[in-house]
């Protein structure tokens, strides 16, 4: 049943899945700080490339949309806020796009 809250569900699942796949890489890169600081420095210099900046913006969006969507779900389940769910889901996406755009604007 392809309806707005189905898309919200899919977005929450896919963002969570991608974040879970990204985390091992994130942790491994940070752990370079003690093992090989030069390798970390050269890795961080990659973040100056435009494409990498866009990818980072994507990651910010994934994290933001997962938490704002998740807060909506918990308000529905735990506080019983069942009205206006479609509006809330759309708001969560808009807020996340805003956060990701702000990140990109500061990155460039």
């Amino acid at each position: 049943m392809r309806r707005p809250l189905w898309f919200a569900f899919l977005l929450h699942r896919v963002s969570g899945l991608l974040l879970a796949l990204f985390l091992p890489v994130h942790f491994w890169v940070l752990s370079l700080a003690v093992r090989d600081a030069d390798a970390l420095e050269s890795f961080l210099s990659l973040t100056e490339r435009p494409l990498v900046k866009l990818a980072e913006m994507g990651l910010v969006f994934l994290l933001a949309v997962h938490i704002f969507g998740g807060l909506r779900l918990m308000a529905l389940e735990l506080l019983g806020w069942s009205s206006g769910q479609k509006t809330a889901a759309a708001g969560a996406v808009a807020l996340s796009l805003g956060a990701a755009t702000l990140f990109l604007l500061r990155a460039i």
């Binding site: 049943m1 919200a8 069942s82």
Partner: protein, 237 residues
């Protein structure tokens, strides 16, 4: 009035096919009228279910243009796309023949959710007095007009992805009983909806509430079960 092009899903569980019928269109015609016209005038071997024709018995639900609906109260004019209808048996349930599904899994899950009344007093005792405006009664009353049509069950994507999931109708009935002061097995119900396939598998997509023909709100009922089971788990911890 013109003609409707109606594609009907036919066959048994092993062999499925689609058959095309041309049905005369009338004003205020329901989808059930169309199916009955086909069975009475075009192909008497067409199998389908109905009984009351007025939205009380819950037996005539089918997929109409991909959406689960009570066909006796669905007007063709509102759902036909370009003068055409696709009619298929309810989703998420095994097909027996043509438009008839096996409802056993649906009702077995009502039993598995302990969504049946558990008496708390004997016949010799006086009836419990419950005011209609008590909060528990109000919550229970919000969900009791379910006609067991399985439209919510057919609409639910969590049922599709996870066949053990008890589904919206059984869970909503469980929620009405948890809120019913006359039910004597509140804790047993909360345990029954907390296991594998329980209320915690719900992803809050809300298709149940959107498609319920009686405007019930299983989504909120399931959220209520989640809250109540969490409260119980935290008390135990």
């Amino acid at each position: 009035m013109g003609t409707l092009i109606v594609n009907v899903a036919r066959g048994d569980a092993t062999e499925r096919r689609s058959e095309r019928f041309e049905v005369p269109a009338y004003e205020s015609q329901t989808v059930l009228d169309v199916v009955s016209w086909i069975q009475q005038n075009a192909d008497p071997t067409l199998s389908y279910r109905f009984a009351c024709r007025v939205g009380m018995c819950g037996s005539c639900a089918m997929m109409v243009n991909g959406v689960p609906r009570w066909t006796c109260r669905t007007h063709v004019q509102k759902v036909a796309k370009g003068g055409a209808l696709q009619i298929a048996p309810l989703r998420n349930l095994p097909v027996i023949k043509d438009l008839v599904v096996d409802m056993d899994p649906f009702f077995d899950k009502w039993v598995a959710a302990k969504a049946v009344h558990h008496p708390s007093r004997g016949r010799a005792e006086p009836m419990a007095e419950i005011a209609p405006d008590e909060p528990g009664r109000v919550t229970a009353s919000a969900g009791i007009e379910c006609i067991n049509c399985a439209i919510c069950y057919a609409a639910c994507d969590t049922v599709s992805g996870s066949p053990d999931y008890l589904g919206p109708a059984a869970l909503q009935r469980a929620w009405t009983l948890v809120n019913d002061a006359k039910d004597g097995a509140r804790d047993a119900i909360l345990d029954a909806v907390s296991g594998q396939g329980g209320c915690h598998n719900c992803h809050s997509m809300g298709s149940c509430t959107t498609h319920c023909p009686n405007d019930l709100d299983p989504l909120s009922a399931i959220a209520g079960l989640k809250r109540e089971t969490m409260r119980k788990a935290l008390r135990r911890a």
